[in-house]
Point group: C2
Chain length 530, copies 2
């Protein structure tokens, strides 16, 4: 399948996506994400703006040496030459040319007002800038795309000029001109009309670059494709400035699964959930749980009525089978959950509750009470399983009895920079008939408690040495009440083979963490068959 | 303007929105949100399912007594009568009838497969259920809407039957039939075709109820309106099951500001940002910063190039003036920020840096370094201002000198339920030439430190008594590293007149909180003119 041929899937996470509030990427992050995007099978990865952004210059330098992309071509993004300077003499253009990228995507003004106010040059000179820069890079052997910035607004203000910019780019050798809705204000019907006109009038190859300011980035992209565009720009996870770029996976999934248009190499769409979440780990921006297709909530069902129907056939409440995008259906346990949800969840965890309506009712009630106190079982399957065991077997699994714990955090008398305070925790407990008093140290209170607890329990149960805490999330509930609020902590633990999530709730982060830590170790020991 | 006349804006946050993972509303929450939605001027508020959901029965009971809505009518949601039972004899139908709501919205199956598999009755009986229930409620004096569940899928499977369900509802007196894309799998062009057909064939009044599983809920709603629908259902902030319902404010803003269609009372759209955030406080679901129109990032500009242009004219990079939805433009300070952003931000805070390029450069560099260590100034204007002051005046404002601090959290020997541990913090500092050693207590370590710090400083600066910590956010950066990760804390403080946000970073939540607390008090004292 020719990804660089009849349809282009073009990701600009590393350039436009990085303009998102709160998103910062190191060069190493960018290289990692580039590999991940390549795994999804996109045709083009816009790596950044070499020459203008030192981090990006470095990225392209290292990419040439270290990146071995199987599917994607790397694109360098940059501007047309400065007014009044020849492209061949412009150092920023040279940086694009010499970046090592096989493709250069040039951004050019196509809105007359922007030429006058932002570039402060003439409409004629702007056309010359486009022609000169495109033909210079073509002559140097690069594939050239043009991003017609503010195209739709420019088309409305001065259609003739906007089209002239496109024609100039095509004449100079640009393979694709991407029409950018830079301010994001377009609606799908308008995009459709404009793209039809452009395709019909210029006969050139058209792309679309949509933003989500009207909540229609995905729909605008689809409308453009329907009107003849064959090159779609967006960002994985919809990253981008302001409200973001079009979510590239949503667009691609719609094209492949609903519009029968294969745009990725066969089979790779099934990796999209895994890859979208992997990229989110690197960007360190928590993924939106309700993101279409790949979000953790995208196929999560809460209403009891829906759960009852899903028992009959999952497709009664899902628009397609989540496995096509590598996602799962989830049944949520919550106070909305009817008995059907609890029963199905129990079955998922290996408990057959179908004969015991009274038990299911009791569990449902207990869940509702706990959730009103701040617990959530939706994301903490291991804590829910411990609750089930307690109700089914009559007692919660217990491998140790806590007597007391205490943690002290204090400033060091001679603090090294960045290390102002240390923590020390003392835990007293009884396990396997013996009493243990253990002190643990750490760079924070939860870290110290975790050390102490595990060392103490580990003396009775050596299996604990396998466990490792790999993720830790804090959430302050009842925001607005300052430091008195209820705190909820989710902890993910691994034993090297699988991972499990437990929840803790308390008046402060230490209390909440304690609860989640204790549950995490208890669940882990039960899994070991202790 | 008749909100119950030619165009209906219908919010279902309290019913469909509540099906969102992680969203739980008490009856008090629902009453508060109902008032907030009324403030936005929506025509209808779907309050819940009385009779089926005890919380909702209570809501309608209290609403009748306590809610004094100026614009909206309350709607009770529920199902058509059970198969084989008369509507007049069905207790769930009676609950809808007796709920006190002026409007009842009945959900009915319009997909033949659902009638057979989920309801387990005949296609004929389903029609009778629709007719019987609608006419019963009309006879009892209520306004009736019908939600045609799974309509678009049902239309594809069996167009004749789906239309028959609609006709039956209209004949029995339903004022509107809302076509529901229950599984969320529709695309705008398909919605347009179906709605055109329904409007043309039945001549009845049509509504749209879209979900966001294809990322097109807003676009689908607009397509339906364009094809003749005059009733739009959605949720504020796009709440809802799985990927959510159509974001009602996005739809309304697009209709009013781009499609020249007034659907709210004049002037109320300007309150949408405030109201959307107020509702988010009640739902306790952190609002999506990149939400169109009302998100805190919706008009936030990061790229240096954009900031340069915005200096000339804000409309060069915005699709409309944010004041129309009550939002603000924001210039972000970050390592992407060029000098233009820092300069503009400085001006926003009252500092004229335009003559001092060297200073602006130094500040920009410092911001980049701090952000690489985990700080964020994007959300912490007060911390950024302290940094500016330090650079501009040569020294950071300082009202006290910390000698040391220590905090102990330990379990109580006779713990009351829900109160397992208490904290005690001791702070030693010098202020106004005097040394203070103060111990504070609290139900958590940060709470205790805050008490101790404020009591100590308050002895030198009584102004501190006015300050109150009103919001506290924790974020673990570098997720995946267990309890060793860098922690960032944002604290919002008020002096009763204004509020300010400060940031702290550290190896653990206590260290990070300490930094934010110290900055918060410092900034506050400076504001007091101390």
């Amino acid at each position: 399948m020719d990804l660089h041929g009849s349809f282009h899937v073009y990701d600009t996470t590393l350039r436009d996506g990085a303009q998102q509030e709160g998103l910062t990427l190191s060069v190493a992050d960018k290289l990692t994400i580039a590999r991940q995007l390549d795994g999804l099978g996109v045709g083009y990865i816009e790596g950044g703006w070499p020459g203008a952004n030192p981090k990006d210059t470095e990225f392209f330098r290292r990419a040439a040496r270290e990146l071995d992309l199987k599917h994607a071509r790397l694109a360098a993004f940059g501007a047309t030459r400065r007014a009044g300077v020849r492209a061949a003499d412009d150092p920023q253009v040279a940086a694009l040319r010499d970046s090592g990228a096989g493709v250069v995507t040039l951004v050019a003004k196509s809105h007359d007002r922007h030429v006058e106010l932002a570039l402060r040059t003439t409409l004629e000179e702007n056309l010359a800038m486009v022609h000169d820069t495109v033909s210079h890079l073509r002559a140097e052997g690069q594939q050239v795309f043009l991003d017609a910035e503010h195209f739709f607004d420019g088309y409305r203000a001065n259609r003739a000029y906007a089209l002239e910019v496109l024609r100039t780019a095509y004449d100079a050798g640009a393979e694709v001109v991407a029409l950018c809705d830079t301010n994001g204000g377009m609606l799908p019907a308008w995009v459709s009309d404009v793209v039809h006109d452009v395709v019909g009038t210029t006969g050139g190859r058209v792309g679309i670059h949509a933003h989500n300011d009207s909540g229609c980035a995905v729909a605008n992209s689809l409308a453009a494709v329907d009107a003849g565009a064959s090159h779609v720009q967006g960002c994985i996870n919809g990253y981008g400035e302001r409200t973001g770029n079009a979510d590239l996976v949503t667009v691609v999934a719609n094209l492949e699964l609903k519009l029968d248009r294969q745009v990725l190499p066969p089979g790779l769409l099934r990796d999209s959930t895994r890859i979208a979440h992997a990229v989110a780990e690197v960007t360190n921006v928590p993924p939106a749980s309700r993101q279409p297709y790949v979000g953790t909530s995208a196929f999560a069902h809460k209403a009891g009525l829906h759960a009852s129907a899903i028992k009959v056939d999952p497709n009664l409440y899902q628009h397609l089978d989540p496995v096509q995008v590598g996602n799962d259906m989830r049944l949520l346990v919550s106070d909305m959950a009817g008995r059907a949800s609890i029963e199905l969840k129990g079955r998922e965890l290996g408990f057959d509750l179908s004969d015991n309506k009274e038990l299911v009712g009791r569990i449902t009630d207990r869940v509702k009470v706990l959730e009103s106190r701040g617990f959530t079982f939706e994301a903490a399957d291991a804590s829910f399983e411990l609750l089930l065991v307690e109700e089914v077997e009559g007692a919660r699994p217990s491998y140790f009895e806590i007597e007391s714990w205490r943690v002290i955090t204090e400033t060091l008398s001679h603090a090294r920079p960045g290390e102002e305070a240390v923590s020390e925790a003392t835990v007293k407990l009884t396990a396997a008939g013996e009493r243990f008093v253990v002190t643990g140290e750490g760079n924070g209170p939860v870290n110290a408690l975790d050390q102490a607890l595990r060392t103490a329990i580990g003396q009775a149960y050596p299996e604990v040495a396998k466990f490792e805490l790999i993720d830790y999330k804090v959430r302050i509930l009842d925001q607005g009440h300052g430091t008195d609020a209820i705190t909820r902590v989710l902890i993910e633990t691994t034993d090297g083979e699988s991972t499990w999530v437990t929840v803790g709730v308390g008046h402060n982060v230490i209390e909440a963490s304690w609860g989640a830590l204790v549950d995490g170790l208890t669940f882990g020991l039960r899994r070991q068959g202790v």
